[in-house]
Each structure stands twice: as structure tokens, then as C-alpha cells.
């Protein structure tokens, strides 16, 4: 392992929890101070490792939510039923606790302002997290690329980063944010109220000729439905990058 430590950039390090933000009843953001953090690109993730007193270890991957420009690293975690790592992170972690992580990891599903736009983001549930890092990065870039987010949540209360998205969308040059609520809608809701489908995408995305840099993230079934629909609308698969969360959705 000593050899790996010399060669690899991927070493385990300890971050300190400095703030916890409840985003929704099941989702929490963990703000970490990570000494010697090497910096990251929007869309990358980290591995988090928990070690029990008896030495048992469990490891999971979580997307980074913060912009590369942020000196602290923020992860946003959804509590999964019986999730042995996510339940600890969402329910038990406290400010001052140490968290073992390694990263940043992955370079394929990443966007930086220099890559240009337009930027098309399609999120299902907690699939918003790496896309939020892109929107936060975009918000401090000059000039910001045109950006559009189509975000599917089950209900209004489960929209992660709801206030921040509204604030970003309200700024000059802010992204366009289009919500769809698949399970329940608040009174007076006039937006979409169904799963993302090809009709919705046809109404909301740019034409294929503008060749948007496209990032789709969410549960596997969501990601595959969206990416197939985009290809049928004429978008080239090579411009569509996907990150599937698997069957659990988070």
C-alpha cells in the first residue's frame, strides 16, 4: 500500500464536518473542511468510508455538490431505507465529526465553464447533486453559458436546493429551471406533473443543432428513459453524458 500512496492521487483523507444543512426531510448536505483538498471539477464524486469499532468497513460514492471555487467540500446525501452508510450520514453525523473520504474521482461526467454551452441538465431526485455543482460553478463564471435544468421530483417538499435554484433562476443570465412533480403537486401548480418524457423534452430542450453539452443524472430507469428520448429527438449520443445511480435512486 505504501507504493500506492506514492503513485496514486487517490488517498484516503479526513475531512471535518463544519456544517449540516437539511435540504428536505430525507436529504442533508454535509459541509466539510478537508485539509489539502486538491480541488475538483463540477460533476466529480468522492468515496466515503465508514469504519466500525470492530473494523468492519462500508464504502459508498457521493457526488460533490459544491463548486470548484468553494474552499469547502459539500456532499449532499439522501437517506435510503436500510442504507447502512446514508442513514449514518443523514441522521447521526454531527459538526466536528471526522469523515474519511477520497477523491475527487471521475473525469468523464464533469463540466467546466471553459467547455462552453449551452448546458442542458436533466435531473431525477437526488441526481440533481452533481448538476448543482455545475450550476454553482457556472454562476461564478464570466460570461455564464446558457443553461437549462429540467428537474423531476416526486413532490414540492422533496425538491432539493429549491430556494437556491429559485434564486439562481431569478438572476440576470441565470439558468432556466423547469420542475416536474410526479407524485403530488401543491394547489395551483401549473407546471409539469408527470415523469420526464419525450413530449416534455421536445417542449423544453434546445434543438439538436445547438449541440448542448448534456448531463443526465438520476436513477437508472430515469437516466435511460431521458437519454433514449433525447437521441430520438435527434441529439447525438456523444453529447449526452449520463450518471446512473442504480435502482435505489440515491
Amino acid at each position: 500500500m505504501a507504493r500506492a500512496a506514492v503513485l496514486g492521487r487517490l488517498n484516503w483523507r479526513l475531512g471535518e464536518v463544519v456544517e449540516l444543512i437539511d435540504e428536505t426531510p430525507r436529504v442533508r448536505s454535509i459541509v466539510l473542511d478537508v485539509p489539502d483538498w486538491p480541488g475538483h471539477r463540477a460533476g466529480q464524486h468522492v468515496d466515503v468510508r465508514l469504519t466500525a469499532d470492530d473494523g468492519y468497513q462500508a464504502q459508498r460514492s457521493y457526488s460533490i455538490a459544491s463548486a470548484p471555487e468553494d474552499r469547502r467540500v459539500t456532499l449532499t446525501v439522501e437517506r435510503l431505507p436500510d442504507g447502512e452508510v446514508s442513514t449514518y450520514l443523514v441522521d447521526d453525523l454531527r459538526p466536528g465529526d471526522a469523515l474519511e473520504l477520497r477523491g475527487p474521482i471521475g473525469g468523464y461526467f464533469a463540466w467546466e465553464a471553459a467547455m462552453g454551452g449551452p448546458l442542458l441538465l436533466v435531473a431525477g431526485g437526488s441526481g440533481i447533486v452533481p448538476l448543482m455543482a455545475m450550476l454553482r460553478h457556472r454562476a461564478v463564471s464570466v460570461p455564464p453559458a446558457a443553461a437549462r435544468l429540467i428537474y423531476s421530483s416526486r413532490m414540492w417538499e422533496e425538491i432539493i436546493y429549491r430556494d437556491e435554484l429559485e434564486r439562481l433562476a431569478g438572476q440576470p443570465d441565470g439558468p432556466e429551471v423547469i420542475h416536474t412533480l410526479t407524485r403530488a403537486q401543491p394547489p395551483g401548480w401549473t407546471g409539469y406533473a408527470r415523469r420526464v418524457d419525450s413530449q416534455m423534452l421536445a417542449e423544453t430542450v434546445w434543438s439538436p443543432s445547438s449541440m448542448p453539452a448534456t448531463f443526465v443524472c438520476g436513477p437508472t430507469s430515469f437516466v435511460e428513459a431521458v437519454s433514449h428520448a433525447l437521441v430520438l429527438l435527434g441529439h447525438e449520443a456523444k453529447h449526452i453524458k449520463t450518471e446512473r445511480f442504480g435502482p435505489t435512486g440515491g
Binding site: M1, I105, G106, G107, E224, T242, G246
Partner: protein
């Protein structure tokens, strides 16, 4: 639940490949021996639930790469891939 529900992206291999390779590997390109398609590892289909980690071609689902770990030792099987371009 069928296999398709368990599918994730090659992106999910970033951690384990980062333990083995110095280069960022989800951007590395791999050629399928079955259909000849060349794609970044991050775009291929990955299955993490098997005893080993399995990467399959996103176009034809042929096997590209199998990674197993035991006792700190890694074994990488490239049976279904023609080449891997790194860096």
C-alpha cells in the same frame, strides 16, 4: 428487478481504477472486441453487484473488463476488449 435496473455507468469504476492506475480512467477509451465501438470507460455500462466488477459495451453489452479484488490483490480481465487507450 432485472439486470437493466442494476446497471450504472463506467463512471462508477473511477474509485477502484484510481486505486490501480495513475491516470484518470473514466476518460480512458476502450475498444469493444465484439462490435468494435470505442467509448470512454465512463460511458460504458457497469455492474457492481457481481462477485467482480463488470464493464460491458454500451452498444452490444459484450463483456469488456472484469475486475476482482482479493486480499489486496487486483485481477483485471480484458477478454472482450481490443485495446485500452490511457492518458
Amino acid at each position: 428487478m432485472d439486470d437493466a435496473d442494476l446497471r450504472v455507468d463506467g463512471n462508477a469504476l473511477a474509485g477502484v481504477l484510481g486505486e490501480v492506475f495513475v491516470h484518470e480512467m473514466t476518460s480512458a477509451r476502450i475498444a469493444c472486441d465484439g462490435c468494435g465501438a470505442v467509448e470512454p470507460i465512463g460511458a460504458e455500462h457497469a455492474y457492481m453487484q457481481a462477485p467482480g466488477i463488470v464493464l460491458r459495451c454500451l452498444h452490444c453489452e459484450d463483456l469488456l473488463l472484469v475486475i476482482t479484488r482479493r486480499g489486496g490483490r487486483y485481477r483485471l480481465g480484458f477478454k472482450g476488449s481490443r485495446w485500452l487507450q490511457i492518458g
